[in-house]
Symmetry: D2
Subunit: 498 residues, 4 copies
């Protein structure tokens, strides 16, 4: 009989003392691992099926192991799979479950040719890949909401801003669709992260592979991966896929924080461009008149949370020797938090976009008040008076300064005419009206991707196609994973039926 060490752990042979309480508190990962229980069981099934296929364990062993794993799955679904903290992690919990049901031998056999080092990163990749698809679908839903609100607003004029100052008239559809365009690149990055995540490290064992004649490609296929992470040392020791997913989320959240900021800004009394739905705002316990854009504010703040989680992982990885180090255990809590909070932010903003009310009257009013068509006037002088642009810029700049001094706007056509005349430019009142009217100005924009209604109609069409493509990609990836799950289930059923 093997002499039992003083430790009750599965690795206790060489140890002469139990783990201290503080060490256990400090090192257990059950809370973060529990999310991956289904993945751990699926992974164990696939591994066992492969071991039997390769003749490493017998068909009877396989049956005994799978019987327990199926029971564990049922317990998990029923919410009664025991997760004991003192067993450190999900892998040990599942293995002990098998041992208790089928005898210690079977637990041991299941662990042949693998290690917790490759198991944990396999589970993590399996869970992450699904969460990335969740995020992609949430982003697609937000894009859809933006596109739906854009449609029909191709001629709804509002001030376009640069430096938070009025620049030129744009349409509401143009403004909203700019976020669809930004988010399309986020989808690309998420998809890139998915592709580098969805590769199988299982079978790398502790760091160096194994002397058993395993079939890693078979396991990868059963688990719905697109291939293996071939190099064993790289497979167990690398977490760049975690950092990449977090980086993609950070950039996404930076984009969303800009949308949130504009909702906060545009819903102020001063701007008044839009009104957030009451169901997405909150009041004050002391000031009865308040309606606060709390969801937009919290969305904006969530960027910090996700940034912080990326910084956590990058710090953790800095100067870590290669291969598995226990530091890597801390990759999951920040990852899960960032995924959860990002998804909730996307969904909250989607609800906000769906229900926001645009104050088109206020938009129209503002766009006429602050010289937003001055550029058009300069362009008109270029095109019709043959002056160089810089000269026209100066003329119109002087005109604006004069009108501001007089408390007037470009709507005062007669005064505009007089001042331009003093700069040597003669325009008819009709010309001035045609040039300075924001709506007319909007329509005149014709360049590719511009705010002109025809351009925007084209933009919406192309963005819709891009949005649909990413969604399709995510959905078909999800289906491939589901089919792999079904295939494994079928093989398990067959093995149990023998």
């Amino acid at each position: 009989m093997a002499k039992q060490g003083k430790s009750s752990k599965l690795w206790g042979g060489r140890f002469s003392a139990e783990m201290a309480d503080i060490a256990l508190d400090f090192s257990e990962s059950i809370a973060a691992d529990s999310r991956m229980a289904a993945e751990d069981i699926w992974g164990s099934e696939a591994h066992a099926l492969m071991l039997a296929k390769c003749g490493i364990i017998s068909r009877d062993d396989l049956k005994a192991i799978l019987t327990e794993l199926e029971k564990a799955r049922e317990d998990l679904q029923a919410g009664k799979l025991p997760l004991r903290r003192e067993l450190e992690d999900i892998h040990m919990n599942v293995e002990v479950y098998v041992r208790q049901g089928a005898g210690p031998e079977m637990g041991g056999k299941l662990h042949t040719a693998r290690s917790r080092n490759d198991q944990v990163v396999t589970d993590c990749r399996m869970h992450l890949r699904t969460r990335l698809l969740d995020i992609m679908e949430a982003v697609a839903a937000l894009q859809k909401a933006l596109l739906q609100r854009a449609r029909g607003n191709e001629r709804t004029v509002m001030p376009g801003y640069t430096h938070t100052q009025h620049a030129q008239p744009i349409s509401v559809a143009f403004w909203l669709s700019s976020y669809v365009s930004m988010l399309a690149r986020d989808q690309d990055r998420l998809w890139g992260a998915f592709q580098r995540t969805n590769r199988c490290p299982l079978g790398a064992a502790a760091l160096a592979g194994t002397s058993f004649p395993t079939d890693r490609a078979y396991v990868a296929k059963l688990l719905g991966f697109d291939g293996v992470v071939e190099h064993a040392l790289d497979a167990v020791g690398s977490r760049d896929f975690v950092a990449e997913a977090l980086a993609a989320l950070c950039i996404l959240m930076s984009n969303l924080s800009r949308l949130a900021e504009e909702f906060v800004l545009f819903s102020t009394y001063e701007y008044g461009l839009l009104e957030i739905h009451d169901s997405l705002a909150s009041g004050s316990s002391i000031m009865p008149q308040k309606k606060n854009p709390c969801i937009a504010e919290l969305s904006r703040a969530r960027a910090g949370l996700v940034y912080g989680r990326l910084m956590e992982i990058l710090t953790l990885l800095k100067a870590l020797p290669s291969g598995y180090n226990r530091d890597l255990q801390q990759d999951k809590p920040p990852l899960w938090q960032a995924l959860d909070e990002s998804e909730m932010t996307i969904r909250a903003l989607e609800a906000m976009v769906r229900t926001v009310k645009f104050n088109t009257g206020r938009m129209r009013e503002l766009v006429g008040k602050n010289f937003a068509t001055a550029t058009e006037l300069a362009n008109f002088l270029v095109a019709n008076r043959g002056l160089p642009f810089r000269t026209c810029h100066e003329i119109v700049g002087g005109l604006v300064a004069q009108l501001i001094a007089e408390g007037k706007t470009l709507d005062d056509h007669r005064r505009v005419q007089e001042i331009l005349r003093r700069h040597g430019q003669e325009l008819s009142l009709d010309e001035i009206e045609a040039v300075c009217d924001p709506q007319a100005c909007l329509v005149r924009q014709v360049s590719l991707g511009s705010t002109g209604p025809d351009s925007v109609t084209a933009l919406l069409a192309s963005l819709k196609a891009v949005h649909a493509e990413a969604l399709k990609q995510a959905r078909s990836a999800r289906r491939r994973i589901e089919r792999a799950r079904e295939r494994t289930a079928k093989l398990v059923k067959e093995a149990l039926a023998l």
Copy 2:
């Protein structure tokens, strides 16, 4: 009768729709707030006592309010204070508790002259100040463990490293005490953070103070604060005290990650300078021989977690308009996490320091093998042969290169003599032995703060004093807070007895 809005919230008057589920999910803060329940109740008691003292509420009102608050405290201590998620935060939960017990009027009166804006930051400061004292006491305990292990090891020689390469012989006491010295500055920073935290914002109300004739200094005193944050707008809208606490923790964790790194390094087979206790290590599920320094690795990795939380808060604060914004609600989760994880790291490292076994034989062996006393030889030539240091540096550098080429060390005194002779320097074998012996070399270091045993004895004494001073500071601050708590309790009792 007040017409009730469609919202069931306490601020619902002007709202026409209930908060959406996603908004509630996204905006509730009960989980992070629940830690501050005791502080919220204490704060409410002090506020109520002040309102009565200033004649803003009657003595009867006070009695009714305090009766409910005392009940709430008892429920909290018994673990049965209801915390309803749909009431958004801890403040509303406590207020609703009072309303249910004493009638809606009393809830309303309690909320006179304050706002959730000043309440939440008061609770946060009260909880944080205690946690900062916890951290200071934990750091002091770690310093104490380091000092205890240092004592008696003033002459235990080990290699001193720079660039992770052997530099000069140092003592174990010198090495360990360097961390005590670093941690002393962390204590200073934590104390600075405590001082800027322990000031009372209550009474600032929503942003502008109140028209009620309140007595803010009285409330501050009852709550054990060292003073008030006078400016109301600053009081409710600033979170620099949170960022400062996190920054102090980050710097502390960077220091601790260095200690953890040295434990990892020094416990490798290759170094073998020390052995981590079995109770603070773990094994491998696949490799039977492994003993992994998991607690040291996890301590090292925790630095990333705390860094990330600071980055979260700094990002959140960036470009936020002044005054209260809902973004600020997200200050607490990162703060609590960073405090908890920092404290656990300190305590884990304290356990490791207390139980680590030093392999003094291996230390002595290593220090002699790799020319660690070369500098001493150069210094000897300066002092006894009158050569400039640079010349001696070159001579000894050449000697080392020659010995390495021959596979020899400075212990081969005869060979050292021969090579030095070729450089024109004649030393007796006795001189060489005296100069190159690591132990003798250690003893010769005499400058202030050096590794020489006398210097180290003085260092240990001064570090012990500094350590005790910080601990005393923390403990007496804690006592002041406790006394304030007792004073409030006494006043409450008196008010209830009327």
Copy 3:
């Protein structure tokens, strides 16, 4: 004669190959070091004076060394001190200067009992301490500008915001002074950083002190330090003082980014609360009407730069073994950049505060338009009708909802009266006017630190005192450093005169 290695470096004895070009490019630090040339020379003078005082070098040696160091200082002041990249750093450049003038022996003697490890951190602390005082003086100047603009504006009413929504009327003086209050804590943190910076590591040598009987306290005093960093290993290997300075700057910059954000926001056409001076704005090359708040935007963005530099240092320190490691060389570039950019941001904002024009008419207009006095109305009902606050909150909330629906404001006193009557509350028109007038509302705020003019007058007085105190602290620290400089110069002169 010492056999010369193939390396031309001062440390080349044991090396058989010259440093590769890429290694030299990668490792030289002349650009970052050149700022510390004056400090390096001063440090060398003090070290030499101490060596002579302690009898480690002769008076003649001292004279020879000081002669060259004085020449080096003159060359530096004349902008012609040669800084050769291949000499790696400032220390080697100064030492080689001495060797070339006074012979290699003197260079060597000067380097007795010290190392580049303690030299570099001494120079860095000396330069940083002065830059921290620069920052403190710049912050004080910004505070002064804010206080000056506040004074006289204690009754200038403007909307006070929470959640970027109108909350209650506040005064311009109250708004501006909130930043003075925030900055006062930044001054405290900068001063804490100064105190932990201004301690002398020189004499710690490479890591373990020295066998020469040096006098570290004497050197510290000559260099204007407040004391020594006693523990040699801590002295050369710690950079927490760098991280602390950066953390203090980060928090400061987060505060400044909020001020910058409010300048951007309040200068929009929509808000129109203030106008940034033309000299601190810029135009558009294409849109003639634009006036962009570029300085405010760039100030806001600079927060990112400083945050990034802190993250750089914290990452660098993570898991670094104790003692000096070459990684530490990279502490200076981020530190210098953060100091420079922070100072420029402070000065730019000071200019903006000094020259900004407040549109008090627009402020008054806005404050009346959006129910900012609703809280006062509720408080009035509490105080005069004996209703609980929550009930009044609901009544006024309903009133606001009704008025918004009708497109009216609280200025429509008759309508307010009617609606309140329907809620069972009878108020005279005079009462309504008195309660709802923003100016009257402002004056009614009486609590400590509130926006009421008397409170603000008191606030301005106490903030002015706090501001003056910090400035005095910084200036007297600067004078102490200057006096130390003069003392050293006098001793140098005396030594040269012998």
Copy 4:
């Protein structure tokens, strides 16, 4: 004549005061812009060619403009293009150059239908795309060096580590190639960043496009872009491509910091696995025996620099309203610094890999000393004695504990035999030798991606192919850009010849 404003700027029409000195200091970007001078000129040429092609300017105008742009290019190449700080940025400098040569009209005409907002981001993308290709080629060179050093070392045994503790024997080729594998994913990410960078925003104008009938696709093609960023508002206001490039560099640097760390560790006296070439190390000014791994240390530290730059950009982007804001100007300095420092780090590590000397004797010695083949012994018992793995793990764990207690290793075959016998396992001495010999153990590893020589040979082949593919991608992208440059040059020549 246009009335000139008081400002001398090209946008000065509406301004009444010159920009203040501090504003100019604070806002100029010449230093960071100067890198993009060639791109700015090329962009201007393409824009002018398009304007003429679309009939917006005449052929004569085109000729006049191109004449000056060609001169500017020549001046630039000769290092004498004037870059005046007071002209704020590179675009204004080039335009003023054109104005001075061809008259103000031509400068103005060149600026038709574009803005600095789209110009700057075009230049930035053009420069960044080339730098990303530089980085990819540098990474490929590092991979090549690693592969070259791996080849021939497939059977060179060394300890494989997990938790920095001996785990199992691996080969040097396996260790080195793990980094090639990690870097392959970095190449993927860099290529993804390249693809999202190499799209043309020019023609988006200030934010909304233009009313001129431009041909944006034509400009994009002339400039070697793979397409346009269609949405004008997105084109000028988004910097996610900058954040993505920095994120890719961060992850790359985290990988490189791990390689650097292993060089530092493995070159210690204690490990002694390898020796860094003297040309990539440095000495100590005080300790003659020191050889410090400075280049590895600095490489490790550079990760912090790059992390910090990503955090800078993410902070900057947080909550920025959409469209162009001046904050965005600060995107370039961190980007250029991160690219430069990353490239230098890669090249320094390549030099280190090329020249490092492996101490294969020490490797072989270490691998036998610390039970690295214990897992193999357990596996042997599984495979040959039919025991479950967990039982074997316990047996071998006990054996190891016993041997450590006795100061013996697995090389003491007879003692191993005795102890195993006591656990009921009988092995012949030949069996023990075969199982416990590290070399034999290495050879037995057969799973895909394992450290067995055949697996590694296959790994090296597949990694070489992947490496070559990425390099080919980068080179062909570079050629496409070069061909676009030549095409533009040809068109310019033709236009000038008319």
